[in-house]
């Protein structure tokens, strides 16, 4: 009755512990890497119905972000522009481009002869109004969860640049998700807003950097500039749940 368990079984507990430990570590590491916003969100780059080029429009041409995203300093949403905004230029520029077909469809709608007036045979659904066409189905890239109430207006008006959350959109041909925008990302900035604060007229200047002057490190220069703004403006971002969750 001495040898119920064979000799090799002596090492089983140790192997088990090591094995379970390894499996556990791999699981933890896997979840931390694959199941967090850093992996699931960053780099998301869907194909858009209209191949709008941000690098060209915002970077090369230097059109301000707010020319199209008009609500960004007034509303919680930074709205996607209506087709009328595109057409304010493209009625004259590249007005026949095939790439702009969906934009023209959306803008003119029932207005077949494109004269802006209701003409004979244009009122297809018979409601007496010149209806716009189908909306352009832009694919959403940045999305806060439903229980998060992010407000663009307060950030943009208080010296937080677009670049802090959206990256260098002016260098993206096609926009992708640049920052992970997890709760930790939000809180990092809310705890230390000086790392991001900048003068109000530089908010949409995505390439702006704090004046180095007598600092060697750009980060130190930013923090110095940011601390001054924070003090002057009384910036005190909320750190409690009610700031974002309602």
């Amino acid at each position: 009755m001495r040898n119920i368990f064979p000799r090799w079984s002596n090492t089983v507990p140790l192997k088990l512990i090591v094995g379970l430990g390894m499996v556990g570590s791999v699981l933890v590491a896997g979840i931390t890497y694959y199941a967090t916003p850093k992996y699931t969100r960053v780099g998301y780059q869907p194909t858009q119905p209209v191949s709008y080029n941000h690098e060209f429009h915002a970077g090369e041409l230097g059109i301000d972000c707010r020319y199209c995203h008009t609500g960004v300093d007034k509303s919680s949403h930074a709205n996607i522009p209506g087709a009328n905004v595109c057409m304010s230029c493209h009625q004259n520029v590249k007005s026949d481009s095939a790439l702009l077909e969906p934009v023209r469809d959306s803008y003119y709608g029932e207005d077949a002869n494109k004269d802006g007036k209701l003409s004979e045979g244009e009122d297809l659904n018979g409601d007496g109004i010149l209806n716009a066409g189908p909306a352009i189905p832009w694919v959403r890239i940045h999305k806060a969860p439903d229980y998060v109430y992010f407000n663009h207006a307060i950030h943009v008006n208080r010296g937080i640049s677009c670049v802090e959350c959206h990256g260098r959109v002016d260098q993206m041909v096609e926009v992708h998700h640049d920052k992970h925008l997890s709760m930790a990302f939000c809180l990092d900035c809310h705890r230390n807003p000086e790392k991001a604060l900048r003068p109000l007229d530089e908010v949409t200047n995505l390439s702006w950097e704090a004046d180095l002057s007598d600092h060697s490190d750009p980060l130190i220069a930013q923090v110095h500039a940011g601390l001054e703004l924070k003090e002057n403006w009384g910036v005190n971002p909320p750190l409690s749940c009610t700031g974002c969750h309602r």
Binding site: G71, A83, Y108, K143, N232, G234, N236, S240, R246
Partner: protein
């Protein structure tokens, strides 16, 4: 001090009782109140364990399938092709409009999110209402998204078995058919009463085109004015519009002027309650006083200082008594009138002293007293009230009489004309006349005589069943109209916020079509406006939402002659007994006249007095209940105290229970050959031989919400008075369970609502702080007791507590709040109107749970209105007949040392730096510890996906059908829609707070940038610049309150309104001795009784009871014994 602290208040005291059961101290009730959640709330019944396991297995299976969808779902953003001007996505727009009701047009401001109306508020430009709304306007937005609306127009097909089927047709095609039919002649229009000027102008054209016009409303708010005009021999109606802001003494004769039985509820409440605002002893001396004689216990009766129970059918006698007392006191010369009135009031001797003293009090305030008569009372009482007001000199000061048009022909003459063949085509617009009149009009026969009928209505209802076509009527938020307020002092527009969701037509367009004009309703409104505005700008009118006008006032007329014509024989009705009862039919709180029967918010909002939800009941007095009980043992109307008999056995409880709920016996009521069956409910405060029945329930053709709810009182109606006599009751032996929230959330035996008489308040303004257990214990704040409110709010001093409290001072904390939010609720201002309950529901996306779940105590209202009764003398289980009523709104108190926070295992409920008790839904795992530890019982748990699933399929979990998505359109996008398994509660409307803070900061920064003209780096913004100005943020409950009982603001600012009120000596904390330090505090109630009255008590009943229990030794042994 320490010795005293060893004897905290014992809950054995019954200084307040909320229900018959709790009064009776039954064992079941004691066990019931000892549970954290009321009966059934935390039990999973209705599902067998086996089927539960099966369901779970199935749902796990589904979850596995769902895992394949781990990838991010693709969402699209759809911008406009041509963006509308002034529309910024994410910023709500507000439009001035109004709700057309039978009580006048209610001026409103409606919030719209990207074109979807979501929330209704009062229009502050209409000063008499001060921006408040009633409960019905609040709930009306839900009707817009009701999936049971008529979603277009329908043609009726009757199957062989007599069942009607509805086939969808286009509205235009019905209108075309209608043109042909109108040209055939013999056409009539039947409408509900309205105050629309568009309708008025079209009505003239319709009359000239030979179409006959009839009006009907089950609850006719204009009946009083027509009766009075007729009695005075005028050809017009005479509408009484009280001006209660100047009234010092009010005598109400069965007139519920603060409730839904009368018009002008909001402005009356606002004006009358402003005379009861007591901030110092000078206010208390000026306080107004209300006498009421009524049969039902109305909300107005709840506010009254002196209340006399008089059956409605005896009101002529009582009014004559009051009038004769008045005549003799002022030394009126007309002896014949005096004698006549004495004769009329001969049967009311027992009420003489009450009436005499009340009249003396009215007379002591010349021109500042007023007599009001209920609109359901006969012409005689209207006339007596008018004459008394004239003699008191009130006309022109506290009451105005304005001339209004005479009423249209009644539905009875329509019925006779159909019968004799002079009308063959009928258009029924609005209302629901077939349901409301089936007690006295045989519609089945009439419909056979009609050749063609069209119904224009919001939903397919009883009146649609006799029509060939049902035309879908646009909701008022989808249509144009223009009308007047009840007092006729303002024109208000009805402006659509959204194009009709379905193929529907507005009433104005329909009427215009009838006369062959085919104008759209927008053009009609524009024309009417230019007619009445003397060339005023239409756009301005729409922006402001009101246009002042002048009603035609009436110069007073001596009514002596008319009074003398009242014949004593008519009114000397036989004495009421248990075999000769009276039935008083009143509008239902939930369904009104049936209009809101399919509105879930209204169905679930508890009746302020009876606290019933989802049902109506016949209310009877305790006296009548005792008589019935003795005649029919086993009825179980009155629970008896459970006590041991001589043999040591527990005596059986007389009341009938099922699952912990008292069952209501169903009875048959017979009146003049007509009968209905309905459940009985005993209501203290009722006149002995009155049965109160409500109209609006028991609808046969109604949407899914209203189906099967309540009983139908309409078979009893006769088309004349709503007060019927000669009724008798006969039990059927059946029982019904009523979903009553009355016993829920009981706070037994403590000084919860604190009250004093005005005299007591003047001699001791701090009376509230001398009540409750905290008055016996060392001060809550210990050594910090004398610190200011602001210091206490920002530093949260430890007092003598062993626990550390967070320190939110600017210097000591890197996380500091520049505001500290707080609220006061003035119990003296609350009339119990319940508008706050529905406003909160609308603002905060609070779901409707259904009757079954209410019975389990799972209703979700974030603010509830507790109603307490107290009485003079009570003896064991005897239910008192005369009670005083106190209301108390209770929502999350946002305790500074919140008991819920310390027990949450996942930190889902924590404090924020501005003193809000935050609730992070996405963190909550649903342990419900917080609700267990909340002494105020204000936390609500999502036992099911109320918002996502149909109420009848909740138990099927993920397998149940989803709710109709149309309801989701009305949700507030600024508030999370909570899912199953999370706790929720009042947030002080955190979404409004955050929006205001953001707006203030953005504005301050933009203004500074604009002024400095630079890049902004040198701008200096102080804390003061970033603070939200006082009064900017209004919580949903505050905004809706007609009497401004609720005040919210920053208590760290000593100049804010809320700080001032919190420093008032009347301010107290509920359960303050628990050291929860609630941010919501209450201002104690002050009553103003007349010492000369026979029913005078030197203290409010509740205060006396409290003192009897708290200090038994002061009052001798007989009180201390129990």
């Amino acid at each position: 001090m320490i010795m005293q602290n060893n004897q905290p208040e014992l809950p054995s005291g019954k200084d307040y009782w909320k229900s018959l059961d709790s009064l009776a101290d039954t064992d079941g009730f004691k066990e019931w109140v000892s549970r954290e959640f009321p009966e059934g709330a935390s039990m999973l019944d209705g599902v067998q364990r086996r089927s539960f396991v099966k369901l779970m297995a199935a749902s796990f299976g589904l979850a596995g399938l769902g895992m394949t969808g781990c990838r991010r779902p693709e969402q699209v953003i759809l911008p406009y092709g041509k963006s509308p001007e002034e529309l910024i996505p994410g910023v709500p727009a507000y439009y001035a409009t109004s709700q057309p009701t039978s009580r006048g047009f209610q001026p409103l401001i409606v919030e719209s999110h990207q074109g979807r109306p979501t929330k209704v508020e009062g229009n502050p430009s209409y000063l008499p209402n001060g921006g408040s709304t009633d409960v019905y306007s609040q709930a009306s937005v839900l009707d817009l998204y009701d999936p049971d609306r008529a979603q277009g127009s329908f043609a009726r097909e009757t199957l062989k078995n007599g069942v009607n089927r509805w086939k969808k047709v286009s509205t235009d095609s019905v209108l075309d058919i209608l043109d042909d039919e109108v040209s055939e002649g013999k056409v009539a229009v039947l409408v509900n009463r309205s105050h629309s000027l568009v309708r008025q102008s079209l009505q003239k054209k319709i009359a000239s085109s030979g179409i006959q016009w009839f009006e009907h409303d089950a609850i006719d708010y204009t009946s009083a004015e027509n009766k009075l005009g007729k009695a005075l021999g005028l050809k017009k109606g005479l509408r009484a519009v009280p001006n209660l802001s100047t009234a010092k003494r009010v005598l109400s004769l069965d007139c519920d002027f603060l409730g839904n039985r009368e018009s002008n509820e909001l402005s009356n409440t606002r004006a009358f309650m402003s005379g009861r605002k007591v901030l110092n002893s000078a206010d208390a001396r000026k306080m107004n006083r209300l006498y009421i004689a009524e049969s039902d216990l109305s909300r107005t009766g709840g506010v009254a200082d002196h209340r006399l129970r008089v059956e409605s059918s005896q009101m002529i006698g009582f009014a004559s008594l009051v009038a004769s007392e008045l005549l003799s006191k002022i030394g009126h010369s007309d002896q014949s009138l005096k004698k006549h009135l004495k004769n009329l009031s001969s049967s009311t001797n027992s009420q003489k002293e009450w009436a005499s003293e009340a009249v003396a009090d009215l007379l002591s305030n010349p021109k500042k007293s007023v007599v009001l008569a209920g609109s359901h009372l006969p012409a005689e009482v209207q006339l007596l009230a008018y004459e008394m007001n004239r003699l008191l000199g009130s006309i022109g000061s506290t009451i105005n009489y304005i001339e209004v048009g005479a009423s249209a022909d009644s539905i009875l003459s329509l019925a006779s004309k159909i019968n004799n063949g002079s009308i063959e085509r009928l258009f029924i617009l609005g209302g629901n006349p077939v349901y409301q009149t089936k007690g006295f009009i045989n519609w089945e026969d009439l419909s056979k005589k009609l050749k063609f009928a069209v119904r224009l209505g919001g939903s397919i209802d009883e009146s649609s069943q006799i029509a060939n076509y049902h035309l879908g009527q646009s909701h008022y938020l989808e249509s144009w109209d223009l009308g007047t307020t009840w007092d006729q002092s303002f024109f208000v527009p009805v402006q659509p916020l959204i194009a009709p969701l379905f193929d529907t037509v507005s009433e104005a367009s329909f009427l215009s079509h009838l006369v062959g004009e085919k104008n759209d309703d927008h053009g009609l409104v524009k024309n009417i406006h230019s007619e009445y505005s003397n060339g005023g700008d239409f756009e301005d009118f729409l922006r402001l939402g009101v246009l002042a006008t002048k009603p035609v006032s009436f110069n007073s007329l001596d009514a002596t002659k008319a009074l003398l014509s009242i014949k004593p024989v008519e009114i000397k009705s036989s004495k009421l007994t248990e075999d000769n009862l009276e039935v008083v039919i009143i509008p239902d709180f939930h369904a009104h006249d049936g209009q809101y029967a399919n509105n879930g918010w209204m169905q679930e909002c508890p009746d302020p007095i009876s606290k019933l939800t989802w049902d109506n009941a016949l209310l009877i007095s305790p006296v009548l209940a005792n008589i019935l009980e003795s005649k029919h043992p086993g009825l179980g109307l009155l629970p008896k105290p459970t006590m041991l008999n001589k043999n040591g056995q527990i005596a059986p409880d007389a009341a009938q229970f099922d699952g912990g709920k008292q069952k209501a016996p169903i009875v048959t009521v017979n009146v003049g050959g007509k009968s209905i069956t309905a459940p009985l409910y005993v209501q203290p405060g009722l006149a002995d031989f009155s049965i109160i029945a409500t109209i609006g329930y028991g609808r046969s053709h109604v949407g899914r919400v209203g189906r099967g709810t309540g009983y139908d009182v309409t078979p009893l109606l006769s088309g004349e008075s709503l007060v019927l006599t000669g009724a008798s009751l006969q039990p059927t032996g059946d029982f019904k369970i009523l979903a009553n929230v009355q016993e829920h959330w009981s706070m037994e035996g403590r000084a919860i609502v604190r009250e004093a008489n005005a005299e007591e308040y003047i001699s001791d303004p701090g009376f509230a702080s001398h009540m409750g257990a905290e008055s016996h214990s060392p001060p809550m704040w210990g050594k910090d007791q004398n610190k200011s409110l602001q210091e206490k709010a920002t530093t949260t001093p430890r007092g003598n507590s062993a626990y550390e409290h967070p320190d939110h001072t600017y210097e000591k904390s890197d996380v500091f709040g520049i505001h500290q939010w707080g609220m006061t609720i003035d119990l003296n201002q609350c009339t119990g109107c319940s508008a706050c309950v529905v406003a909160c529901q609308s603002e905060n996306n609070i779901p409707v749970v259904g009757k079954d779940q209410v019975l389990r105590g799972r209703e979700m209202h974030w603010i509830r209105l507790d109603r307490y009764f107290s009485s003079t003398a009570r003896d064991g289980a005897e239910i008192p007949s005369d009670v005083q009523v106190s209301f108390q709104g209770v929502a999350c108190m946002h305790c500074e040392t919140a008991p819920c926070e310390s027990v949450c295992p996942v930190n889902a409920t924590v404090h924020d730096e501005e003193g809000l008790n935050a609730m992070a839904y996405n963190r909550c795992v649903g342990t419900r510890y917080c609700a267990n530890n909340c002494p105020y019982k204000v936390r609500r748990f999502n036992f099911f996906d109320w918002n996502k699933r149909k109420t009848d399929e909740l138990y099927q979990g993920p397998l149940g059908d989803k709710n109709d998505s149309s309801v989701d359109m009305g949700k507030n996008p600024d508030v999370t829609v909570r899912m199953r398994g999370v706790m929720e509660k009042c947030t002080y409307c955190v979404q409004r707070i955050q929006e205001s803070k953001i707006r203030t900061k953005v504005n301050a920064q933009q203004k500074a940038k604009f002024e400095s003209g630079k890049d902004g780096s040198g701008i200096q913004l102080s804390t003061q610049d970033l603070k939200v100005p006082d009064g900017t943020i209004k919580t949903a409950c505050q905004q809706v309150c007609p009497s401004d009982a609720i005040v919210f603001g920053d208590i760290s600012d000593p100049r804010s309104e809320v700080s001032k009120l919190k420093n008032n000596p009347r301010d107290y904390s509920v359960l303050g001795y628990l050291n929860t330090r609630p941010r919501t505090t209450f201002l104690a109630k002050v009553r103003n009784p007349n010492p000369k009255m026979p029913d005078f008590a030197s203290s409010p009943h509740s205060a006396r009871e409290y003192h009897d229990k708290a200090h038994p030794s002061h009052h001798g042994d007989e009180h201390g014994a129990h």
